[in-house]
């Protein structure tokens, strides 16, 4: 057996080959650390400390889990969690139902299908700030177009944004208007990728449209539906701008989601420790739901 000793040149080549990947991904990783990992880590650290505008220059004392415990005993935070879940569940459910309807409609050979497809994408092209401001005008009690047409049709004007029991549905309508088109587009892509054979076989066996939809389309589309669900879940959980522009979380906290609660404590009260803890609770909930959905998707694939 012969032992081959490495020359310095070979050693250097082996070393350079080992660090080569690190050099390639290094800058991107550095950028990731600066813009994502550091703020995430710092806000996590903050959530265990008391950071207030008045006192932070004198020190940021460690308070353990106090911020988290205070949050769960705070009725306003519990209310914001309830509001967030109401918004997420209602908005996603409506978007899925309408989106599926639109996708099924566009999946047929209709005249002007291409034009229709482009048309339903229009809401997606608007920025959230424009959407919020536009709907604020549309919902205006006296001058808004919606109330104008309601009154023309003989209905009473609605206090869209000033009545606590109407404000949440009004906000949900805006989200549905904004994102249903994209839900429809994703579902349409899923529908078009489905194989024709099972549907042809079902037709030969005498299955009607409803049976084909419930026994074939929905089960075959599960994967796509879960992807849409995951995306919408993350998106609606963190909604801020549209609601802030429409109601600023009001009236009487009727539309105050966790994001708006975090903003209030973080950038109006400047209690960053408390706000960070609230943000992390939201992240943990989102992570939990996302992991659950990912597992379901994995099982379906298997």
């Amino acid at each position: 057996m012969t032992v081959k000793t490495l020359t310095p040149h070979h050693r250097w080549r082996r070393f350079s080959r080992q660090i080569e990947p690190a050099l390639y991904i290094g800058p991107a990783f550095l950028a990731l650390i600066v813009i994502l990992i550091y703020p995430l880590g710092y806000s996590f650290w903050l959530s265990f400390h008391e950071w207030t505008l008045r006192g932070f220059k004198k020190g940021v004392p460690f308070v353990g889990l106090q911020n988290y415990l205070d949050l769960f005993s705070n009725p306003d935070f519990v209310n914001s969690l309830r509001i967030t879940f109401t918004f997420v569940i209602a908005a996603i459910a409506i978007e899925l139902v309408i989106g599926m309807g639109l996708a099924l409609l566009l999946n047929h050979d209709l005249k002007g299908k291409g034009f229709m497809r482009s048309l339903i994408l229009l809401p997606m092209m608007c920025t959230n700030v424009v959407i919020g401001l536009t709907f604020r005008l549309l919902y205006n009690y006296d001058l808004g177009l919606i109330n104008y047409y309601l009154s023309q049709l003989g209905f009473a004007r609605v206090e869209w944004l000033s009545n606590p029991s109407v404000a949440m549905p009004a906000v949900i309508i805006v989200d549905v208007w904004n994102t249903t088109s994209f839900v429809a587009l994703l579902l349409l892509a899923g529908l078009q990728s489905l194989p024709d054979e099972p549907f042809e076989a079902a037709m030969i066996d005498g299955a009607n449209s409803w049976q084909s939809f419930t026994y074939l389309t929905l089960p075959l589309l599960r994967q796509t539906i879960l992807v849409v669900l995951l995306w919408r879940l993350i998106d609606t959980f963190r909604i801020f701008d549209v609601i802030y522009l429409l109601t600023a979380g009001g009236p009487a906290r009727a539309t105050e989601t966790v994001s708006i609660y975090v903003y209030r404590y973080g950038f109006q009260s400047f209690n960053l420790g408390f706000a960070s803890a609230a943000a992390y609770i939201m992240i943990f909930i989102m992570l939990g739901v996302a992991v659950l959905l990912a597992r379901i998707m994995g099982r379906i694939e298997e």
Binding site: L23, D142, E159, A248, S269
Partner: protein, 498 residues
């Protein structure tokens, strides 16, 4: 060269380029005009909660004598006056400064007055406009974070206490007491009583300007048509509102109970009913009998009497203004600063007839005592010009704000539509002749009360906003809403060391 080696070389060059790009840019020493002025050391006094100014603590204790109600006054709109600037001897040119101001008339005014300053001194002033909604958040994050974006800013009296404690605001005594910097004619007495809102532990943190308060606005044509008098008490106010209420064409009056602005409207009623937020010992008294009576009256305007538009929970300053301008409401409390807009037929054509404004202002309503005397109190606000500790050119900023609030600068500020807090300018007969509403302002100011400036005032305002909206929307009774608010404010004050 092999392609893999070429690829490696290129990658290496790319990495080096990116790392080089991350290096902080070294300023060209030749291009630097002047060394940055030293920033004053952190104020050691600010480590304690600033003491409250004595004036607004207890309105009841300092109740001024009841004033006779002023008759409604008709005024021609004041035309903007071209700034007339006196020539000054040539002085060393100061570095240019950036001054932050929120959007609206104050910004427009500042642009004009700053131009006059530049013309006079040759010192450049860059005015940066910031949206009203984001103004406080933007200034706080910049100031507290030590940002160098602004050299001076337009600030409200509520904000400095927390900023002073966070060492984010520059004390002005350093310059006021420096004969090389301060104007030899500087007299702090001309800023009384407004300056007291910006004085903490002996140090001044802003020069005051824009001391505003609210008046009652009424539609004289509608009142005359029904033979009504301008209301002098809150009972009369409600009676007139009911008499003129004809929805949906026109509502009797208007309130602005938007979630983030509610207190700024409700305070006219709170103080007007004799209530207060804190007493002289910083005890929360907003939920006392007078406070609850005020909120009950305020909420009932919507809930019970229905004499205000149904969506007032979405109304702030702008919406109240629009309703008055559009003739959708017959009455309303509105800031004095809105006078020129409301009485200008070009800006408010729907409330003008034959070139004359139909909206007239008068004393805010009061409470009638058993002997028939009427006690009036109202809310207001006080603004000023301060310097953040992160300012790049604090001395140049000081020179500007000192001039801006001097008799010369304050007169220009007034003639362009502002409300100076320099008494020499405010009471100058030449100024009053051009802006007659300053006469009534002088009568209202003695019973103006502002939200007490504490280190937790911002949170206090948010809490009261919530209580007002809860009562107006009927989600809580006025008593419950104010009790909850009082408990929260007490906790805040206790934690802050009051």
């Amino acid at each position: 060269m092999k392609s893999t080696q070429l690829f490696k070389l290129l990658s290496l060059v790319l990495v080096i380029t990116m790392l080089a790009a991350c290096q902080p840019t070294v300023a060209n020493p030749i291009a630097t005009q002047a060394p940055a002025l030293p920033v004053a050391p952190a104020n050691p006094i600010a480590t304690e909660p600033p003491s409250l100014p004595a004036a607004p603590a207890n309105p009841i204790a300092t109740e001024p004598p009841a004033l006779p109600a002023a008759p409604a006054v008709t005024l021609p709109p004041v035309a903007p006056v071209a700034p007339a600037v006196t020539e000054a001897p040539a002085a060393a040119k100061l570095p240019s400064i950036v001054v932050a101001c929120w959007s609206g008339p104050e910004h427009d005014n500042l642009v004009k007055v700053a131009a006059a300053y530049t013309e006079k001194t040759g010192n450049e002033v860059i005015v940066e406009e910031i949206a009203r909604e984001a103004y406080y958040d933007k200034l706080t994050t910049t100031f507290v974070g030590g940002g160098t974006d602004y050299d001076a800013a337009y600030i409200m009296s509520d904000w400095p206490p927390a900023w002073v404690e966070a060492e984010a605001l520059h004390g002005l005594n350093e310059y006021i007491n420096d004969p090389k910097v301060a104007d030899p004619n500087l007299n702090m007495a001309v800023f009384e009583p407004a300056i007291s809102f910006f004085k903490f532990n002996g140090d001044y943190y802003a020069f005051p300007s824009e001391g505003d308060t609210a008046w009652l606005w009424t539609r004289t044509d509608l009142m005359e048509a029904k033979g009504l008098k301008v209301p002098e008490t809150w009972d009369e106010y409600l009676a007139v509102a009911k008499a003129l209420n004809n929805p949906p064409e026109i509502y009797g009056t208007v309130i602005g109970a938007k979630p983030d602005e509610a207190l700024w409207d409700f305070m006219y009623y709170l103080f007007g009913f004799g209530g207060s937020i804190l007493d002289e010992n910083n005890k929360v008294v907003i939920n006392d009998e007078k406070g609850v009576a005020a909120l009950t009256f305020y909420a009932d305007l919507l809930q019970k009497e229905k004499v205000v538009p149904p969506d007032v929970v979405t109304y702030g300053y702008n919406e109240v203004m629009t309703n008055l301008q559009e003739g959708k409401v017959a009455m309303g409390m509105q800031w004095m600063a809105a006078t020129q807009t409301l009485q200008d037929c070009a800006q408010s054509p729907k409330v003008c007839k034959d070139g004359k404004p139909l909206l007239q202002y008068s004393m805010p309503p009061g409470v009638k005592a058993a002997d028939g005397t009427i006690t009036r109190k109202t809310g207001g606000s006080q603004w000023g010009w301060g310097i953040p500790t992160g300012a790049k050119n604090p001395e140049a900023a000081y020179k500007f704000i000192e001039w801006l609030t001097s008799k010369e600068g304050a007169t220009l500020w007034a003639l362009n539509g502002g409300i100076p807090s320099n008494q020499e300018a405010l009471q100058d007969p030449a100024v009053v002749a051009k802006i007659p509403q300053f006469e009534l302002l002088g009568q209202v100011m003695p019973f103006r009360y502002i939200v007490p400036p504490t280190t937790v005032t911002s949170d206090m305002v948010t809490t009261i906003n919530e209580a007002v909206v809860a009562a107006v929307t009927g989600t809580k009774t006025p008593q419950q809403a104010l009790d909850d608010a009082a408990a929260k404010i007490t906790e805040m004050l206790t934690k802050a060391g009051y």
